[in-house]
């Protein structure tokens, strides 16, 4: 449990470093759904940078993930339903865990505080209901 918290904290420091450097250099908010959404639109000057970001993201995860880690993924049907909901939700809310719960809270944005409270509460409720049903 203590080691879990330390790993969480260390991972958080790396994520904070990523968000901070990204803003310091380019002035852009590091929101995963924002960067991904921009790639779904017309090709722009930022698109190459966004693609490079995602290449780095995959490489970083592959390098640090515990070898032999088997992800506990839901059934394909549930994954598709959940993926649709996540995509529609972050599109409407203009941000996800990174854009709102890290970058938004770091600059004290009211919209991000509201969004973070709502998606954390609903996600916790969904897990609680799923366990009892």
């Amino acid at each position: 449990m203590v080691s879990g918290l330390l790993h969480g904290l260390a991972g958080g420091l790396l994520i904070g470093l990523a968000c901070g450097l990204f803003f310091l250099v380019s002035g852009r908010i590091l929101g995963i759904s924002g960067l991904a959404g921009a790639l779904l639109g017309r090709w722009s000057a930022a698109s190459r940078d966004n693609l490079l970001f995602f290449a780095g993201l995959l490489a970083g995860a592959a390098l640090v993930a515990r070898p032999g880690l088997v992800l506990a993924l839901a059934s394909p049907n549930r994954l598709i339903l959940a993926g649709l909901l996540v995509g529609v939700g972050v599109g409407l809310a203009n941000g996800c865990t990174s854009g709102h719960a890290v970058c938004g809270l770091a600059r004290g944005a009211k919209r991000s505080m509201a969004a973070t409270l709502v998606f954390m509460a609903v996600a916790m409720l969904t897990v609680a209901l799923g366990r009892t049903l």
Partner: protein, 143 residues
């Protein structure tokens, strides 16, 4: 985009992906354990926010004090706007999906490097994101 921005993009991705893997957020089981406050709650992912937010805030403050980005551009103004129905509904729909599978966008995309079974989630997420932007944006503009 300046050359410096193009250099920092993959570096930020590398740090972000490493952070997700180190914290355990890439594994939905870990995330669901964090969300399960009424059950066998695993609070360790609270450390991610506790680590990430202050570091990000330090860099934001530093950048604003410099008055320019390292790439030499003026620092963009913070997006403002009010808390509106679209934000709240979107956050609730996102929370529902997050709770159903234990995946938010960053870890889901990072998991593409580890397990191809994640592909249906990422495609559905892209479709949902596209739908909400192209269609909902017309009759329900962002606040």
């Amino acid at each position: 985009m300046s050359r410096l921005s193009t250099l920092v993009a993959p570096a930020a991705g590398l740090l972000f992906g490493a952070g997700l893997a180190l914290s355990g957020m890439i594994d939905p089981a870990k995330v669901l354990g964090f969300l399960d406050i009424g059950g066998s709650w695993d609070p360790s992912l609270a450390g991610v926010m506790a680590g990430a937010i202050p570091v990000t805030a330090l860099f934001y403050g530093w950048t604003r004090r410099r008055g320019a980005t390292l790439a030499g551009q003026p620092v963009p103004r913070s997006p403002g706007g009010r808390v509106d129905a679209r934000l709240i509904v979107g956050a609730a729909v996102f929370g529902l999906g997050w709770g159903l599978a234990g995946l938010c966008p960053g870890p889901a995309i990072a998991d593409l490097a580890l397990d191809r079974r994640i592909i249906p989630f990422v495609l559905a997420m892209a479709a949902g994101l596209w739908l909400s932007r192209r269609l909902a944006g017309r009759w329900w503009p962002a606040g």
